[in-house]
Symmetry: C2
Subunit: 343 residues, 2 copies
């Protein structure tokens, strides 16, 4: 089959790889009908050493069950299914408490495993991982459903960890697909004021459509000052940090009110951060992390199915497999916000 | 009047200072009947430059109202009152949401203001700050009541921020008075397993009396490994970090389970810390801060008054004002756990 392989920074290729197949009785093979390129794919696309081992790519996909291991009784061949970006048994103690991203038998797509940006994927722990979709494969809901694999669940996680609720004031750092998803998630959870910090008008326009009440195009201390101006000098109840750079974190700490939450879902491009006396004096909480998408998926699905939310508006380009390398470049160049892949 | 003044590291003196007096209509003057030396007083005692401005000391005290500003109607001369370690109006938006440590009109004792380790204290925002105690000044409850000024509220804050509740597994880093208070607070909130990390038998014995189910005397990675051994390899739901050193924080991150809380109440002796990918991958939350003691005081008071808890057991020495310098040295040398001051 054909699949996406990254060799190094800027070097993404579509290659023939061994067909996806059942290795364990708990596996399924899913033929991909829709996939996506993730903002996190851009980190290795920007920095992967050319002499490192090539890695398979993609962790956001929907598809049709093609083959099933003998232990799986809850799915059938031909089912249209969605996979969260990690696999999990959905039965262990971590899964039971909703932290599916720390599943005792969990793991991730890509690298040495099949990835979503390919024709088919071996899905370990398929019974715990895959959720059947009762829609047609060509449903117009497909882009929004695809966001439930990762990006919208990740934005939702930022908001949940930030204790966003009715009447909250929120700032979102970053106008990428995760940031915009965080805006939509915050609105869905009842936030009253949502300040989006981002500089790309095309994107912040989507942010306004998703519920941003204010847009701040400045960065750093100027952004912080503007957020404080907009909130009577106080700062916001929660900052959802959807970038991962150290300066975004600094902006977040500057924009949050005393006793508030800085909730991170960006992949941190730093190892140390400013957690000294200011954080203690102001009782700031630093939270967030890798989203337990499986735990959120079924909870968010109804709002997508009935059209209450349309998180799929973050997609602004669709490519076939051959177009994946160009899709990476378009996202890296910020010519595309988020690219869907139809193999 | 006489009061404690710190000139530099190791240089604490009892001096004559101007009498405490009413400066604003919202002030009170309280004649101190009981005070304490705080673990946080030991930081300047260890490091204050000799050429820095001398500072008044002490922020934990109980006393009798001696004088009242004209705006105060809720207190009377002669009332026995307790003060949390910060003053606050107890009416602003931060106070109303329980974050009295961020009061809009708040401040702290000592430095250029009167401190608790003296004969009397001018208390700003007295109506919002002071809580009347309906006990005799010589009550045997006095040591435990005194802990409500700071140390027990601080331990309680660590447990509250760490979401400690019924059935929680908890590790407490540090066997100082705050760490022991955190043990007691965690037990009071229903923790099932409380692992105290500390090396001083006299102190960990108090910890066991307060509810520690296990004591780990190792440090660093050995402590982390032992906490994991004691919790089936998982780590604890919450680590209450009651020291403030970078290595204590590292121990905390190592001992907490995925999705758990590292709750800090030690004064951080670092400006940067390890908040990179491990924290994100494991969904760890870093929380805690300066305790809003005023908000907790009335909530914790009944359990002290009826003897349900005896947090005053952290005191193991009492000095008069003249004995304060020796009290500092005894705490710095770890010959005393916590020193009470009876002026």
């Amino acid at each position: 089959m054909r699949a996406t392989v990254m060799y190094g920074a800027g070097d993404v290729r579509i290659e023939h790889v061994p067909d996806a197949s059942i290795d364990a009785p708990t596996d399924a093979v899913v033929r991909v009908t829709g996939a996506a390129i993730c903002g996190s794919d851009l980190w290795p696309y920007g920095s992967k050493p050319a002499d490192s081992a090539p890695q398979r790519m993609g962790h956001e996909f929907i598809g049709v069950v093609e083959d099933l291991g003998s232990a799986i009784t809850t799915l059938q061949r031909g089912d249209l299914v969605i996979s969260p970006f990690l696999w999990q048994d959905n039965t262990c103690d971590y899964c039971r408490r909703g932290l599916t991203s720390s599943c005792r038998h969990g793991g991730g797509y890509g690298h040495a495993n099949d990835g979503g940006q390919g024709e088919a994927v071996r899905v370990p722990q398929a019974a715990g991982t895959l959720v059947k979709l009762n829609v047609a494969p060509d449903s117009s809901l497909m882009p929004s459903l695809l966001t439930l694999t990762d990006v919208f669940c990740t934005g939702h996680h930022a908001a949940v960890c930030g204790h966003v609720g009715n009447g909250s004031t929120v700032a979102v750092v970053g106008d990428g697909a995760v940031g915009l998803s965080a805006v939509l998630a915050a609105r869905r959870l009842g936030a009253e004021r949502i300040i989006l910090i981002g500089r790309h008008t095309v994107r912040t326009d989507v942010g306004r459509e998703f519920g941003a009440t204010d847009v701040v195009t400045e960065r750093g201390s100027e952004a912080t000052a503007l957020v404080r101006d907009l909130t009577g000098g106080n700062g916001v109840d929660a900052v959802l940090e959807c970038v991962g750079h150290a300066d975004a974190l600094e902006t977040a700490f500057g924009a949050v009110r005393d006793g508030g939450y800085v909730s991170r879902v960006g992949v941190p491009q730093y190892t140390e951060g400013p957690i000294g006396m200011d954080m203690i004096a102001r009782n700031l909480t630093l939270t967030g992390g890798v989203a337990p998408a499986r735990a959120y998926l079924e909870q968010l699905l109804p709002d997508v199915l009935d059209g209450t939310i349309e998180p799929g508006k973050v997609f602004d380009r669709t490519v076939d497999l051959a177009g994946v390398p160009a899709g990476y470049q378009a996202m890296a160049d910020r010519q595309a916000l988020k690219v869907a892949v139809t193999p």
